[in-house]
Symmetry: C2
Subunit: 227 residues, 2 copies
């Protein structure tokens, strides 16, 4: 019954894995499919895909971490601004809360009582404004760091699956065929469990995830064939 | 003064461009740097990078769109659940609202008055729970579609910048050198304007964006050199 709690606890790591692995399975798979049409050495395909996995995991992991830092700075800027407004324009800030409550048909009398109780404690007042007016929660920086790691690692793990067949075969075409088969299975399985975790239709989710991967791979494949 | 409005209006497209272009500048740049160390034909580098740009833009664009759809399904599932709970366990739902208000030192009397006013209109009550208990807003599906397009196109535009030098030079090393120079300038400029738009320190933001791109490129470069 506690769906708020269910929704947040432990699911953050899963959400990171989903983000990293979705892209990790898709982009290196498609890149390998594309490059397999442009070269005749598996070594070059493996070098390209490894380079992409390294770059992609850094871009997603570190990029995500820095985006988290920026979000945190944004939160504290808004917090400072909210404290300033509560000090300088208390009536305007009170009116903003009353406007929010009015949207839910709360009577003017109750609006006034609530706002006056809230205004007794400036910290609580600002917290209320941050959450209910600006809809901002304090970003957790440790979470951002862990999240960056989880996403980066999931990207690498995802990327290794389409890569492996090119390591263990001798020609780009063999690598391509096994990579397609292996990655279709991986995308389908991943899409299935992803949907299970997020409470969506599992089969539909599995097909959707597979479709994105296949579309990306076939687009890359046919475009690289033009070279 | 209306920072809520400032925060949301028009900034969504910019946010999409930032997401797409950050990765578009970084990953194709790093991939090209890596592949330039493993092959001796610019044609192969261009084929690989074009394949990656196609795959990356589809993965980010379409993947993002489908994630938006899933989020929307999640919203409506929770909405249904909230209606059900309001019907079947009204006292529990009322208590949840009272608990939220209690966190802000709202007196029990005011909690009761507000909850009883809210409970008069079931739709408003459920809306209130969605926003203030679950912190969910109804995702806009048109927004998700536009967002997917914006992100995909920004990724392509970003990716063309590191790619162009390999088209207009004759050897991988020449392409690599010009690509590094051009992309450093692009990353710095992009980081600068990104920070300007989000109200962060512009020079710091420019260096951060550049650092992620360079780190990804050098990691890809040195790993590809091993092949």
């Amino acid at each position: 019954m506690n769906h708020k709690e269910e929704h947040f606890e432990g699911s953050e790591m899963l959400s990171d894995i989903v983000i990293g692995m979705s892209d990790g399975l898709t982009v290196p798979f498609a890149l390998a499919a594309g490059v397999s049409q442009a070269v005749d050495s598996n070594m070059v395909i493996v070098a390209a895909v490894v380079a992409e996995i390294v770059a992609g995991s850094i871009a997603m992991g570190l990029g995500g971490y820095l985006a988290g830092q920026t979000e945190r700075e944004h939160y504290f800027n808004e917090l400072k601004r909210e404290y300033k407004e509560v000090d300088e324009l208390p009536d305007k800030e009170k009116q903003e809360i009353k406007d929010i409550l009015a949207e839910y048909n709360i009577s003017e009398n109750t609006q006034n009582v609530l706002v006056n109780e809230l205004a007794k404690d400036k910290d609580k007042w600002v917290q209320f404004m941050m959450k209910f007016e600006l809809e901002l929660s304090e970003p957790n920086i440790n979470r951002a760091r862990k999240s960056a790691m989880n996403i980066g690692i999931s990207y690498i793990v995802g990327g290794l699956i389409p890569l492996l067949p090119y390591i263990f075969t001798k020609t780009p075409n063999d690598g391509f065929m096994y990579s397609v088969v292996l990655t279709i299975i991986a995308l389908f399985t991943f899409g299935y469990f992803k949907s299970k975790v997020t409470g969506q239709n599992k089969i539909k989710g599995a097909f959707k995830t597979m479709a994105v991967g296949l579309l990306a791979a076939f687009a890359a494949y046919f475009i690289a064939k033009l070279f």
